[in-house]
């Protein structure tokens, strides 16, 4: 079963990458880009076939490793 994780910076945390992308898009002539935030997207292939168990496991992986909860939020989707 597949799980998808989005890890994003918490509100208010500086995102130098997003800021630089926004700036570069402006320089390339794309106007009207008001904000850009960059996060991580992680796909996992799991042996687990029970969606609830898979979700619980992935949430624990996020807390322990995938996200830095001091500055990042995470969200988990599992395929049904």
């Amino acid at each position: 079963m597949k799980a998808r994780v989005h890890v994003t910076l918490k509100n208010g945390v500086l995102d130098p990458q997003g800021k630089a992308i926004q700036h570069a898009l402006g320089a390339l002539g794309f106007s009207g880009v008001d904000d850009v935030r960059q996060g991580k997207y992680i796909e996992l292939d799991l042996a687990e076939s029970d969606p609830d168990k898979a979700r619980a496991a992935v949430e624990e992986m996020c807390r322990k490793l995938l996200a830095n909860t001091v500055i990042e939020n995470y969200s988990v989707e599992v395929e049904d």
Partner: protein, 729 residues
């Protein structure tokens, strides 16, 4: 405007007595913005209220000193119109919370302190203390801190060339991350922070201000809603790219004659930078806070004054230079905003969309900050230790050379770009880092040193030793030690024992600096380094800077050829108290540290430097942790050539002491001509003994045994990478 309750005052970290003083100064109750400003200005970090009394006892003057403590960094003259600007700073707590960003922003902060004075940074160093390797957090902290230091310094493009790392359980809950930067500037073009010229524009440049690192009151105040934690990241994220632009833009502006005063926004951001600049110059300031470039909507004056967003600077410009300056910052795509003017009022007036939201007298706030004479207790003297066991010395050497405190740090410094700039002529891993100056003939040497276990056992001796070791490390590369910066890392100063450690260490440091004409020109104090009542070991880190007059004489760090005579300089008594041998082989962290004889240090060091200058030494290394045999092993590994050591007869019965004792004021050198060296030493009254020869592919203790370099190298190089890959970081 919210009412100032005793709870709110307490949350701002002000004692009731301090708050009384606030009321006195203002003649009224402060509003929240003003309370926030008092709170950060009078914080330990900004006011040095516990340490000031003792810092004043340090020697800070000398013919080489252009600027001692009191500015963003210290400045010393290098001759030929050049100055070195340097400082060390801690980022301990943030690095424990978020090791990557904490360490990265620590590097960013110290870089700003140095380039704000007009210097181009040329070397970074870092002094790190982690908990026990067995502690579940240690691996993660090492990994993150090292990556963060590298991530920032590498991107900005300043070589990270040196530092030190220790592991000890006393740092389990409170690691130390001290970062040092050395920069170069023309001696006649140093920039200071004293504002001058009422009417002159106050200019903000760099990154926009966000809600980073705002401490103080939170929930209790009506101005903050339930999401304030989410809104107010306690951890700042570093943006090394912006820092790089800021360096280039500031240095470009400094080439013009536009700046009256300049100061980075470090701890307590806009508040401390504006107050310090105004106070030093004896002027007043009016700020229109709504003109501050903001990263987010809905920011308040309180937040703007207290934010610790990174990569920002404050300047006072000469009148009429605004446009020129603006163009430079625009070229580098940085924010540039005129946010206020200097006045004659001696007051800080803060406006928000035209309305006054704060009005404070500057000097009483900046200068009348509390100063405490905290009660202190000296550390009781330790007993002398007896060592009776006489185990296999080569086995002990193998253990020590692969132990956490002595194992190779290659895994760390290979993550740092230590070569950028093309002037690194002594790479990390040896005594002091050496970076060549533009004249191609001279070079700067720098080092950071402290032996916390010595400081814990005897703060005064430990303070002396830290200075002596840094002085020795500079000497070992042939540099004239010029001045130091220091980072005083201690526990809670409200505990007399801890305060006594600080007092003792400062006393010892002061004595040694005086004896060596090696003044303190800058520094930083980090207190309250403890968790759950467990304080760190007292850790007064010394950052030393010296000058090599001619790099042609730089001796090698290691043994690079066979047939050289090994000469031990300095007197060996075999002091094992607080030695690594005692701790790591016998499991005893006991005794008094080796005494530092400042006269012997000076005499031996001056002699050694003279020998280097005359080209008499092929290689040179100072003796410290682990003593003679460890130093020899390090030299053999560094140069790839083995050696044979003769244990003198008198030392036979005390072989462990002779091999592993940590007596101070000693160097191990390799020379083509032992006889001449010994004769010169005799003439100078310097103890010296010919104790062996280089050669072979092993370390041989005559009549005792041998250990192959390969074996030593495997343990020495293996420990840290093995440790780091043995678990999840």
């Amino acid at each position: 405007m919210s009412e100032i309750t005793p709870e709110l005052v307490a949350e701002h970290g002000l004692t009731p007595q301090e708050y009384e003083k606030v009321l006195d100064i203002l003649g009224r109750a402060p509003n929240l913005v003003e309370l926030g400003i008092f709170s950060v200005m009078w914080s330990e970090h900004c006011s040095y209220k516990s340490s000031k009394k003792w810092l004043k006892t340090l020697p800070t003057e000398g013919p080489q000193v252009i600027q001692g403590p009191g500015e963003n960094a210290g400045v010393i003259a290098l001759g030929e119109g050049l100055a070195a600007i340097f400082k060390i700073e801690s980022h301990n707590h943030p690095s424990f919370i978020e090791p990557y960003q904490g360490a990265a922003t620590g590097v960013g902060g110290i870089l700003r302190d140095v380039f704000t004075m007009g210097a181009r940074p040329v070397m970074n160093l870092n002094a790190l203390r982690f908990g026990s390797p067995d502690h579940p957090k240690t691996r993660h902290l090492v990994s993150g801190v090292v990556a963060g230091i590298g991530g920032y310094g590498n991107c900005v493009g300043i070589p990270t060339v040196g530092g030190e790392v220790n592991f000890h359980p006393a740092y389990n809950g409170n690691i130390l991350v001290n970062a040092m930067t050395v920069g170069l500037a023309p001696a006649d073009r140093i920039f200071y922070s004293a504002a001058a010229g009422p009417g002159n524009p106050v200019v903000y440049v760099g990154s926009k201000t966000g809600r980073d690192g705002i401490h103080g009151a939170t929930m209790a105040s009506a101005e903050f809603d339930a999401n304030s934690e989410e809104k107010r990241p306690t951890v700042q994220v570093g943006d090394p790219f912006t820092e790089k632009l800021l360096i280039e833009a500031c240095l470009e502006l400094m080439e013009t004659d536009a700046i009256v005063a300049i100061q980075d926004m470090g701890a307590a951001g806009l508040t401390s930078s504006s107050f310090e600049m105004a106070s030093k110059g004896g002027v007043g300031v009016e700020l229109d806070l709504d003109r501050v470039p903001m990263r987010e909507e809905g920011m308040t004056p309180y937040e703007l004054m207290l934010s610790e967003s990174q990569e920002r600077m404050l300047m006072v410009l000469k009148p009429g230079r605004e446009d020129r300056a603006r163009r430079i910052f625009e070229k580098w795509d940085l924010d540039f905003a005129i946010i206020g003017r200097l006045t004659e009022s001696g007051r800080m007036v803060l406006r928000w969309h035209g309305e006054t939201v704060g009005d404070l007298p500057i000097d009483p706030l900046a200068l009348a900050s509390p100063e405490y004479d905290r009660p202190w207790e000296p550390t009781p003297a330790a007993e002398a230790v007896a060592v009776t066991s006489q185990g296999d010395p080569l086995e002990a050497l193998r253990t020590l050379i692969g132990s956490p405190d002595l194992a190779s740090r290659r895994w760390i410094w290979e993550q740092y770009d230590h070569l950028i700039g093309g002037d690194t002529i002594r790479r990390p891993g040896a005594d002091a880092a050496v970076v060549r100056l533009a004249d191609g003939k001279r070079a700067l040497a720098a080092t950071t040193d402290c032996t916390p276990r010595y400081c814990y056992a005897d703060p005064v001796e430990g303070g002396r030793q830290a200075v002596a070791e840094s002085w020795r490390n500079l000497t070992a590369v042939g540099a004239r030690p010029l001045a130091v910066t220091n980072n005083l890392n201690f526990g809670n100063p409200e505990r007399p024992r801890v305060m006594g450690q600080l007092v003792g260490c400062v006393q010892g440091m002061g004595e040694a600096c005086r004896a060596f004409d090696y003044p303190v020109v800058s520094g930083n104090v980090s207190l309250y380094n403890e968790t759950e009542g467990q304080a760190i070991l007292p850790t007064p880190v010394i950052g030393g800077v010296g000058l090599i007059d001619d790099i042609a004489h730089l001796p090698a760090a290691g043994l690079e050829q066979a047939g050289l005579a090994l000469v031990l300089i300095g007197e060996t008594e075999g002091h094992l108290g607080q030695s690594l041998y005692l701790r790591d082989i016998e499991g005893r962290e006991e005794g008094s540290p080796p005494p530092v004889n400042l006269e012997a240090e000076k005499r031996n060091g001056d002699f050694l430097r003279e020998q280097i200058k005359q080209g008499a030494l092929a290689a040179c290394h100072d003796l410290s942790d682990g003593g003679l045999i460890v130093a020899l092993a390090e030299m053999a590994l560094a140069g790839g050539c083995g050696a044979t050591l003769r244990v003198p007869d008198i030392a036979r019965d005390k072989m462990t002491q002779w091999l592993f004792g940590e007596d101070q004021a000693r160097y191990l050198v390799a020379t083509q001509d032992a006889e001449t060296l010994l004769a010169s030493a005799r003439a100078a009254g310097v103890p010296a003994a010919h104790i062996g020869e280089s050669g072979g592919d092993a370390l041989t203790l005559e009549a005792i045994g041998r250990i192959s370099l390969e074996d030593l190298r495997a343990t020495h190089e293996g420990w840290l990478p093995d440790y780091m890959s043995a678990g999840v970081a």
